[in-house]
Symmetry: C2
Subunit: 104 residues, 2 copies
């Protein structure tokens, strides 16, 4: 579908992508983590897109198996949610991954 | 208003009350904390009440100054949200408060 294709190109063309909801604290935690690492992710606020937001959420589930937000991609690779991202960070694996995806 | 009165009696008549949203991870964290303390709060899932849910959320803001969920009351006293509750727990103040509210 075109929405599926647009998600695939979004995550391919942007080193860090966060599908988020603007009032969700778990989504905020992930966005704040990237901010503290001086990383500027592409953030897609699903609750601010009207009906397309829930369509996107369904497409993401089809593509990644994950329905929940936040939904994080680095270098086009599906990372997971808030806990997955924090875990990678705590293991020292997140920053190298971001550096590589940003072509550094 | 009647909704305001019903909130006041709910928090007066139940030792622990959590106004929550069923798909919100911060709300889950608070509910899980109480569960681990073998406490059974009265849980009100605002997203499962149709239009009354957002009315309740507005009433809670009027009564407590807090619009967000989770919104926690112990012994009729407004505690706050997830971080407030966790902070009280970490300081060893939560359990005595619950015990007192439960009339123990
Ligand atoms: N363990 C997951 C939890 C994700 C989760 O439960 N997200 C909630 C919001 S906090 C969700 O997407 N609920 C369904 C929805 O909002 O549509 C993580 O760390 O990201
Ligand atoms: N620091 C607060 C954060 C509360 C918060 O931002 N809650 C969000 C959901 S995680 C909220 O209520 N957003 C508005 C809404 O869902 O209506 C806490 O620890 O409880
Ligand atoms: S909606 Fe509350 S943590 Fe995501």
């Amino acid at each position: 579908s075109t929405l599926e294709e647009s998600v695939k190109s979004t995550v391919a063309e942007n080193p860090v992508v966060v599908y988020s909801k603007s009032w969700c604290s778990y989504s905020s935690e992930v966005k704040n983590l990237f901010k503290s690492l001086q990383v500027k992710p592409l953030v897609v606020e699903l609750d601010e897109l009207g009906p397309e937001g829930s369509q996107l959420q369904n497409v993401l589930e089809r593509l990644t198996g994950q329905y929940t937000v936040p939904n994080v991609f680095i270098g086009g690779k599906h990372i997971g949610g808030c806990s997955d991202t924090l875990q990678l960070y705590n293991r020292g694996e997140l920053e190298p991954m971001i550096a590589e995806a940003s072509g550094k």
